[in-house]
């Protein structure tokens, strides 16, 4: 899910950077004092999740958890994912500092979309599980599409790249969906405020 340094062209890098700065600004502005602890913990979860590998398929795929972050944090997922990706780049050499903006946008924007799509469905217990699964899987699917788009804008042939990236990420979509579903249903039982609360 991380794009390496030196693959993307300058306009894509700059565009991704600008979008990430805007998203992070809004995220920080909306992040209220009470939720900083949750954001930090979820950032840590995102930070380590990429070390959990799924040995399926041709590529090398791992947990991302961007769906979970998006559903719980809303706009705050932007600063959370930015910080986690920065530290992954520094400590694990995943991605890189120049592509940080693009990588953050690719994972945070789908997460945010899932927040708006899935959040309303979480209020009712009946749809909660399905919504959690859909949120987790959809976030990965859209992130894969974003990634394919950034690669295609620097290179050529969106469809071929997109097909490849989406197929490589199919197993992780399933796994993320299940993980997110269990996390959401559990959190809904334990801290219903967090899931059904209307605060963004």
């Amino acid at each position: 899910m991380h794009i390496s340094e030196g693959v993307l062209s300058a306009p894509v890098l700059i565009g991704g950077g600008v979008l990430t700065v805007i998203g992070t600004g809004i995220g920080l502005h909306r992040l209220d004092y009470d939720r900083i602890m949750n954001t930090a913990i979820l950032t840590s979860a995102f930070f380590v999740a990429s070390l959990v590998h799924v040995p399926i398929g041709p590529g090398s795929i791992h947990l991302v958890l961007n769906g979970l972050l998006g559903i719980i944090l809303g706009w705050a997922c932007f600063p959370a994912i930015l910080v986690a990706l920065l530290l992954q780049a520094v400590f694990f050499q995943f991605g890189g500092l120049l592509v940080l903006g693009v990588n953050t946008f690719n994972m945070a924007a789908p997460a945010l979309l899932c927040y708006y799509l899935v959040r309303p469905l979480l209020a009712r217990p009946k749809t909660r599980g399905v919504a959690g699964f859909a949120g987790g899987a959809l976030a990965i699917f859209l992130a894969a599409l974003c990634m394919a788009l950034s690669l295609a804008l620097s290179d050529s042939g969106f469809l071929a790249t997109a097909k490849l990236v989406v197929i490589a990420n199919l197993p992780i979509m399933l796994i993320e969906g299940i993980v997110t579903m269990f996390a959401i249903t559990f959190l809904a039982k334990v801290t219903p405020d967090l899931i059904t609360g209307s605060r963004p």
């Binding site: 693959v7 920080l28 004092y33 913990i41 590998h53 400590f91 050499q93």
Partner: protein
Amino acid sequence: MKQLSMFLSILLLCLVITTPGNAHKVNVFAYAESGTIIGETSFSGGRPAQNAEISVQDRATGAVLLQARSDGQGTFSFPIPDRARDERLDLLIIVHAGEGHRNEWLLTTEDYLPGEPDTAPGGQSAAATERQSAVAVELPPQQIALPPSWPEEQLQQIIETAVAKQVAPLKRLVLETRQSGPGLRDILGGIGYIVGIFGVIALIKSQKGGK
């Protein structure tokens, strides 16, 4: 809120404990052995990068000298390009493993043409002469009892083969060390930074809220 923190902390702990030390990054490593450049590429954690695109460039100009693909074990090999040998180019070996995974390995002239006997008679390059004299300093010829019947060329070949055999495990060791994924120290350090960064954000927010 407390329960949430506890749940997430436990989740985090599980992740840290179960992490097999894998990473999401493609590695490449190459060395020369008797006129062939051999390389390995893998995702750190050891999964070989199969069928990855390898391109060999001249470092100075960026001209592509060679294209290759890795096999099922993630290894690749190709003879040293004639042009690189003639012009003594530093080779930049770039691997594209798809999905935006890219890494490179620099193979300098010294790496792949070590002590190669200069084929041009009398026309030795300055660098080659220097290297040969350096060798001569380390091994004064009068201290080695050589059977006089052995031609120098053959001797050199024997030495090269023997040294290559001895060095091969070291090369593999270096490769494995380079490819070991992030350790516990990296993970805990990263989490420490996250706590610190959000601590700073909390501090700023609290000061703004207080006034």
